[in-house]
């Protein structure tokens, strides 16, 4: 049977309001990406030859190193900590349980500037060694602005993606397998390698792919550290050679690579789904660590937490005490309010679409049609923010010119740029950009509960919508919240889209931080940075508190 007829059949079988809405959503979300993608089919200009010859190979290799290095270390650290926290009791475990999520509140580019300054010749560490200990150490020990340094930064500030998703999975999903293994007398190491790792493969890959996308999209860290990654190549082509076309062509290639990754990821986990064999979901019982193992766990936790949160934050606080008088003023309150309102509004819209798409994808049992659909929906995540913003702008400006008749009729004058001068454009961009984050979280939630509850419900005659509200929604509440928190932190940190698509006079904490940091005023950047971090901390805290309440 041809694949076309399969698709048509699937389409007919699953066509309902849910599907219609996600098709519509996918179409709208797709427009900017489509605009970028068309770049691949246009005749390349002369610059392309130059870029291919001198830029492409190196940038692909550098990006590959970044992704592989960061991917490996985030998985090692994320999974180890997730397993430690989920399966064992050790001193301060309750604190680290949520504290390990905190590094997400620090945007990697702020971390890069902070560590860069801290470790520099005039930074606190070398200054101390020089002025107090009287020794001038070899500079190469402190040279963080390198490939190794970038992997270090990305690992420390992105591992929570792996940690969070894996931990949630282990805590709620794996108890039956692990307890059985324990009953059968297997030791911890055996359980970790033979059961935990294979079992949580889906969660780990999900987390690691988020990390990979973040790394591929990053511009701040790579630019500051002088790494010629794929994204820096895009920007250099655009800003240096003044060639948007070639830049977009590069972006289209990057996008294709990432879609490839999506497909590979999907193939990898297609046959590997582990739902708990019983309908009872027992949370994993933690074992108490004593003696040396307890100290080792505590030491490891303190080490990671210090490097990925405590040290940079303390440094930022010190800098903030130098500059807060210049930076904190009435305008600053507006920054905070702007940041919060635009994030929250965007999240509401985004999560709604994420849930609809994930539900459709699940109900159709991952048919090719919905697989493509949901992946398209998530495509915005694969385009560098600044390039996506060009796509979004193009769409909105043409939309505005289509609607100019309506504006006139409404008595708004001949003003043609209404939507593209409003916050709606920025929110739209946020939604496209981070839909994948929300979708992944919701999907993981569905994955966890399996399909038997909803199948039972459907069997008993309930419709898809009713089943969703009565059965699914209460079960995935946790995943939904995780999604909201992750998206929230992403938006608060987001930079290129906000820089380009915001309306007049609309500053956010991120744009202000970047403004200072890029002008090499890292001390002034400390205050808005700390606010971003505080907002992130608060949401982690709220999330954790809700989770605790829910589990009681």
């Amino acid at each position: 049977m041809s694949s076309v007829s399969v698709i048509v059949r699937n389409l007919k079988r699953h066509m309902n309001g849910w599907v219609a809405l996600s098709v519509l959503g996918a179409f709208v979300a797709l427009l900017p990406s489509l605009y970028i993608f068309i770049g691949l089919f246009q005749q390349p200009n002369d610059n392309w030859q130059h870029v291919k010859e001198y830029v492409l190979k190196d940038s692909v290799i550098q990006s590959l190193w970044l992704v592989l290095g960061t991917g490996t270390f985030t998985v090692v650290i994320g999974v180890t900590l997730a397993w430690l926290v989920a399966a064992y009791d050790f001193p301060l475990r309750r604190f680290f349980n949520w504290a390990f999520v905190l590094p997400l509140a620090i945007p990697p580019y702020i971390a890069a500037y902070t560590y860069g300054s801290m470790l520099s010749y005039t930074g606190s560490i070398q200054t101390f060694m020089r002025n107090t200990l009287g020794s001038t150490p070899n500079q190469s020990y402190f040279d963080i602005m390198s490939m190794k340094g970038a992997i270090f930064i990305f690992t420390l500030f992105l591992f929570p993606y792996v940690y969070l998703i894996t931990k949630t999975f282990l805590e709620q999903q794996s108890s039956a397998f692990i307890e059985n293994a324990r009953l059968l007398g297997k030791n911890s190491l055996h359980i970790f390698f033979k059961i935990v790792l294979p079992l949580s493969q889906v969660a780990i890959i999900g987390g690691a792919s988020l990390v990979a996308f973040e790394v591929l999209n990053d511009f701040g860290v790579t630019k500051h550290f002088g790494i010629s990654s794929f994204t820096t190549a895009i920007f250099k082509t655009w800003f240096g050679m003044y060639d948007v076309e070639t830049a977009i062509r590069l972006a289209a290639w990057l996008m294709s690579i990432i879609i490839g990754l999506f497909v590979v990821e999907r193939l990898l986990r297609k046959r590997k789904r582990y739902n708990s064999p019983t309908s009872k979901m027992n949370p994993l019982k933690r074992r108490k660590l004593r003696g040396f193992p307890a100290y080792a766990a505590l030491f490891l936790s303190i080490l990671i937490f210090s490097l990925s949160f405590l040290i940079p934050v303390v440094q930022l606080i010190i800098w903030a005490t130098w500059t807060y008088q210049d930076v904190l003023n009435a305008k600053f309150a507006e920054l905070v309010a702007n940041t919060l309102s635009v994030s929250i509004l965007s999240i509401v819209v985004l999560m709604l679409f994420a849930v609809i798409a994930a539900n459709v994808s699940r109900a159709s049992r991952r048919s090719t049609f919905t697989l493509i659909l949901t992946k398209l929906l998530a495509m915005g995540y694969s385009i560098p923010g600044a390039v996506l913003s060009i796509g979004v702008l193009a769409v909105f400006i043409s939309l505005d010119s289509q609607l100019s008749g309506l504006y006139l009729w409404l008595g708004w004058g001949t003003n043609k740029l209404v939507l593209s001068m409003s916050l709606i454009m920025l929110m739209f961009a946020y939604v496209i950009r981070f839909l994948a984050v929300g979708f992944n979280a919701v999907e993981a939630g569905f994955e966890k509960i399996g399909t038997r509850y909803s199948e039972a419900s459907r069997l008993l005659g309930m419709g898809m919508t009713r089943t969703f509200f009565k059965v699914d929604l209460p079960l995935i509440k946790g995943a939904l919240l995780t999604g909201c928190i992750l998206v929230f932190m992403e938006i608060v940190k987001e930079l290129p889209l906000t820089l380009l698509l915001r309306p007049f006079n609309f500053e956010t904490l991120a744009t202000k931080t970047y403004q200072y940091a890029s002008d090499e005023q890292i001390h002034q950047a400390a205050v808005p940075s700390l606010f971003i971090i505080a907002v992130g901390m608060l949401s982690v805290f709220v999330y954790h508190w809700l989770g605790e309440k829910h589990s009681k």
Partner: protein
Amino acid sequence: MRKKYSFGTLLVTLMALLVLAGCGSSPAETKTANPESPKKDAAATTDKEKVVNIFTARHYDSDSVMFDEFTKQTGIKINEIKGTAEELVERMKREGESTEADLFITVDGGVLNYAKQNGVLQPIQSEQVDKNVPKQLRDTENNWVGLATRARVIVYAKDRVKPEQLSTYEDLASDTWKGKVLARSSSSLYNQSLLASFVELNGEKAAEQWAQGIVNNFARQPEGGDRDQAKAIAAKVGDVAIMNTYYVGKMLHSKDAEEVKVGQNIGVFFPNQDTTGAHLNISGVGLTKHAKNKDNAIKLIEFLTGKEAQTMLTQGSYEFPVNEAADKPELLKQWGTFKTQQLDFAKLGEHNKKAVEILNKVGWK
């Protein structure tokens, strides 16, 4: 009961949320759309006279101070959208005649020219501006005028290098400086403009040889910003660095005592005084082609290039003022006068692409 959670309910909820989202954004929207909104035809003039909309790639707090002063003096409100220069040009291009932007401000002559070439600017007609800004710091057709200049010079370790050893940018590529030269990465527009100036002055081949020579002489792979190069001199990683002058001013006045020390231990050398002169970068402002508040915009340009604003600007940023009448900070006076490259800034923009190609080719990271 069955109908309670119908698909329709979901749809309605969704719509409601979207509307809500729209409303939520409306206060900011009305605020920002104001200059162009309903009253356009009738009561327009009074309302319109009070605004200038700026797309700017300059992000200094000292700029806001100048803008506030302008508003205080004239009652004209200033709205800003900040961003990267190239992105802003792209945006103006796409917005066409509907654009809200009246002025475009950026920190590089090349980009100003890029904006001009893309047809988003128009001539600034003002005798006052012509008087404030010397001809060399204005576009040939007055599509843009300079606001401030910054010299990209050679900075050296006072304890290890004697100024007599230094002469030209070209000399930095000679074997004398093997393993001693520091510079930031080639994504930096400042490096691109510097190389573009060599393409114009010395020709493409010589420019490429120079870039290759610098890469061969690097003390380490390019990393960090300009200040990081100064710190690397203090840390003895290298002896000489290519840097913008105003960073030295900012380091000397830093709140971080260690940075001040670094600033004190480095010397500023203005190269090529016997030949082509030191390389200048220009910060400038252009009037957009479809500016809707043209008169106010020109008033603002006149103000920004006037003595008072020029003094405020240079005191805050340690850039060189374009208006000779401005009071310069003590440090700039100490540096004295120096010979600068005599070339049309538009050339920097024209050669920028070539410069980037060369930088890619010689492997300047």
